[in-house]
């Protein structure tokens, strides 16, 4: 009997002995959001804007997609999921820019959200990441009790069967990321040693439990599998700063280019595909974009995507 077997048996026995099992058995069907809403008409649409005032940029791109009210109904529970993975400051471009996060949270609150949660399962010490990224402070500075930037609570990871998974059949997901009305994905666009770039698809790593490192084996397909569970209604890619080398952790300002650009789309694959071009790469170069496209999560063919520059 090896350790795993032993643990399994212990788990089985204790599960049998507890009178009631955990109440929140999450099934994928219970939480999976609607399939990606197609853009204006049926053409996958994305909006992008450039400028130094990030709050304005967010307003602009959202406006082009129909406004926040289209995604957040009154009383909705909203997750704004930035990348807070690293103990780096905003200038270093390893995390989503705090002003972008703040603007989105504000918009969601203005649209009447009952609760806006901001969180990420970090790579470095979470306290350091939340503080150094400036995101915790940015959310707090809104001063609205409906919005909170909270640390991950390990009790909230629940196993989810991934029916459409090719390589990943089951994985633990963060309950708060599943149990929402509107999930807004806010990745930062940057270089990554293994997957070449980390964009929207890769940002799902922050809402899963378990031994995340194993995802890196055939990372593209595995990320696509995970993304069949988390279906953001809106993806906002922060390309205000892009780290074009030594990612995803970076650290040197010389590895960061300031683009002052934000891309937003309801199609999570389209936004990734477009963001790839900022790095002078083709959508096809990124295995997760390819795999997600093949899984039917969205469009990666740039000629079929309508890009609205606002």
């Amino acid at each position: 009997m090896d350790r795993r077997e032993f643990l399994k048996r212990v788990a089985a026995w204790s599960a049998g002995m507890t009178v009631v099992g955990p109440l929140f058995r999450v099934t994928q069907t219970a939480f999976a959001a609607a399939p990606p809403t197609s853009g204006i008409g049926s053409v996958p649409t994305l909006a992008l804007a450039s400028g130094a005032d990030y709050e304005k940029l967010v307003t602009k791109v959202l406006g082009a997609l129909g406004g926040m009210k289209k995604f957040v109904k009154a009383g909705a529970k909203v997750v704004v999921k930035p990348n807070i993975g690293w103990d780096r400051n905003p200038a270093q471009g390893a995390n989503t820019h705090p002003q972008v996060v703040k603007a989105l949270v504000k918009q969601a609150l203005d649209a009447g959200a009952s609760k806006v949660m901001v969180f990420d399962r970090t790579c470095n010490d979470s306290r350091r990441c939340y503080a150094n990224s400036g995101i915790a402070e940015a959310v707090e500075s809104i001063g609205d009790r409906r919005a909170a930037c909270e640390f991950i609570d390990n009790r909230k990871f629940v196993p989810v069967k991934i029916e459409k998974g090719v390589l990943v059949a089951e994985w633990e997901f963060y309950k708060d990321a599943l149990d929402v009305d509107c999930y807004i994905n806010v990745p930062v666009a940057k270089h990554h040693g293994t997957s070449r770039l980390t964009l929207g698809m890769k940002n799902v790593m922050g809402v899963i439990g378990g031994n995340r490192g194993t995802i890196h084996q055939s990372i593209g397909q595995r990320l696509a599998d995970l993304n069949t569970v988390i279906r953001p209604k809106l993806t906002v890619i922060d390309a205000t700063r892009i780290m074009f080398r030594n990612g995803p952790a970076g650290g040197n300002l010389s590895d960061v280019k300031i683009l002052d650009t934000i891309i937003a789309s309801t199609d999570p694959v389209a936004s990734d595909a477009y963001a790839t071009t900022l790095f002078n790469l083709k959508p096809d170069d990124i295995s997760s974009t390819r795999a997600a496209y093949q899984a039917g999560l969205g469009e990666m063919d740039l000629s079929k995507i309508r890009a609205l520059r606002v």
């Binding site: 507890t18 009631v20 099992g21 955990p22 109440l23 929140f24 103990d87 790579c123 470095n124 010490d125 306290r127 350091r128 939340y130 503080a131 150094n132 915790a136 390990n154 009790r155 990554h192 040693g193 293994t194 031994n211 995340r212 490192g213 194993t214 890196h216 084996q217 055939s218 990372i219 030594n246 995803p248 952790a249 970076g250 650290g251 040197n252 590895d255």
Partner: protein, 531 residues
């Protein structure tokens, strides 16, 4: 209209309250509780909170500890300014006596607290006063050994014993236990209950619980540290304040300092018609003639408040009295010196031919191994404050004398790139306080790949988590594309990681994040142990 008897009753209640307030014991107890709470609060605050500087931490206790000061300076043979706060305690003790033991020491307070758990019922045996000199023996051995290069203070310093026990065992257990309870409710109880339990849990998390689950996985040091702490408490069932009377070397040092203190008790000698004070004394501080021995008294005020004749009181003398002779027997003196010399010799003999353990990675700023061990008092504060739980107590990796000293165990936690907390908290400067820029280039080890386990080498699979997490901006782990055989025996091109040795600082992030089960495929060793 209240009746007369009621008024009298009220008056007497007020009077009772007044005498209660006038009692020395009341104030002593309040002070004890306040100091204990302060200590526990500081203990909780000895944790990363989001700001880089920790404003107040439990290390203050070690900086006012003259035993730590004397032994560490004897060991390092240099003046260490940060421990000179202890002169404050020295000065106060010279004037007031061992008030610290009776009124302030958190361990002493906890020992007094054991009486609530029935410790009072077993005090049958009396030890003769000669045994009280045992603490002087221990003190002498610690200081002499320190001069000759064997650090022992950490084994016997009361704060080190308390801090270690709390840090390694009590606090993690408390955290795990409470969290597990609320987690159980959270996962199983209906909303009616969780709606109540979750806010309570959130409140506890904000106030008295550790931020995260912390583990000290090397059972050896944890068990030893907890056993020592429990032994100190168990001795309380033999005699009240057994530890303080007979063992505590800090108590011994304060006792020597308090021999000429200005506080004296009257009557000087016990009364012929009564002997209550001698019987109730928690420090057994009255000699055979009923005289209060100042170096044994911790000014607990019991004998004043419990004197059946209201005769006893403490007064402050203007002139210093000549203390009773210390009477160190020749045997005790020779025994102390001989032991103090013999132990370093034994330790030295054990060290011959010993290589430093290749995996003994010290925290950044620790200096050479011997410099580090000279100064480290094994208080465990660095382990308490380490945000990633990377610092773990050594068992025998650093020799017997290095037990409880901190080592980085990357598989449990890595050294956080932007963090300098251990150097900030260390009470003796064993881990020096490094500025950020310097810390980020301080080499504590070097990483090396085990190509028989690393997936891109051994199985031709993509991985690269180590490279992803490497905190060095220029990347101390890089990829080179190479041909390898996959599990189907096909030739494939994969990115194989390698260590850029000159850039690696040995933080252990790669080893920590390696996704393999069990041992990592990239491991950090001492710099000299890596080719």
């Amino acid at each position: 209209m209240p009746r007369f008897s009621q008024i009298r009753c009220r008056v007497s209640r007020v009077r009772a309250a007044a005498t209660w307030l006038a009692r020395g014991r009341f104030w002593r107890r309040m002070t004890q509780i306040a100091c204990l709470l302060l200590f526990l609060w500081l203990f909780r605050k000895t944790e990363y909170t989001g700001v880089t500087e920790i404003p107040g931490a439990a290390n203050i206790l070690f900086r006012i500890d003259p035993l730590v000061a004397v032994s560490v300076m004897a060991e390092a043979k240099q003046l260490i300014p940060m421990v000179l706060w202890s002169l404050l305690l020295v000065a106060l003790t010279v004037v007031l006596g061992r008030f610290f033991c009776g009124w302030v020491c958190p361990l002493g307070t906890l020992l007094d607290g054991t009486r609530w758990f029935g410790a009072g019922h077993f005090h049958a045996r009396r030890f003769t006063h000669r045994w009280q000199r045992a603490k002087y023996f221990l003190l002498g051995v610690i200081i002499i050994s320190a001069v000759f290069g064997l650090p022992l203070a950490g084994w016997f310093d009361p704060f080190a014993i308390l801090m270690r026990g709390l840090t390694y065992a009590v606090d993690p257990l408390w955290g795990h236990g409470v969290t597990a309870g609320f987690a159980w409710l959270y996962q199983r109880a209906p909303p009616a209950i969780t709606n109540v339990s979750e806010p309570i849990y959130a409140f506890l998390k904000k106030t008295v619980l550790p931020f995260q689950d912390v583990t000290f996985r090397f059972t050896g040091p944890v068990v030893v540290a907890l056993a020592i702490l429990l032994a100190v408490f168990a001795l309380e069932f033999v005699q009240r304040r057994f530890w303080c009377r007979y063992v505590c070397p800090l108590g011994g040092l304060l006792a020597l300092l308090s021999r000429r203190s200005l506080v004296r008790r009257l009557p000087v000698k016990g009364c012929k018609d009564c002997g209550v004070c001698g019987e109730i004394c928690r420090m057994d501080a009255f000699d055979v003639e009923g005289r209060l021995v100042p170096e044994a008294c911790n000014l607990c005020m019991d004998c004043i408040d419990k004197c059946p004749h209201d005769r006893a009181k403490f007064i402050v003398r203007k002139t210093r009295t000549e203390p009773a002779p210390l009477d160190p027997s020749r045997r005790l003196f020779i025994g102390t010196v001989a032991t103090g010399l013999a132990l370093p010799a034994v330790a030295w003999a054990l060290r011959i031919n010993r290589h430093v353990h290749p995996r003994l990675i010290r925290p950044p700023g620790a200096g050479t191994e011997s410099e580090f061990l000279d100064r480290c008092v094994r208080c465990g504060e660095c382990m308490k404050v380490c945000p990633t739980n990377a610092l773990q107590p050594a068992l025998f990796e650093a020799g017997t004398e290095g037990m409880f000293s901190p080592r980085v165990v990357p598989r449990i936690g890595y050294c956080e790139y932007n963090c300098t907390l251990c150097g900030e908290i260390c009470p003796t400067g064993a881990i020096s306080r490094l500025p950020f820029a310097k810390k980020q280039w301080t080499v504590i080890g070097k990483a090396a790949f085990d190509k028989s386990r690393c997936l891109p080498y051994a199985k031709g699979k993509d991985c690269g988590v180590c490279e992803e997490h490497c905190p060095i901006p220029e990347k101390a782990i890089r990829f080179r594309e190479a041909e390898a055989q996959n599990e189907q025996g096909e030739k494939v091109v994969v990115k194989q990681p390698y260590v850029e040795r000159d850039l690696c600082i040995g933080c252990g992030t790669c080893e920590n994040k390696c996704p393999l089960e069990g041992q990592a495929a990239v491991r950090v060793s001492r710099p000299e142990a890596v080719v």
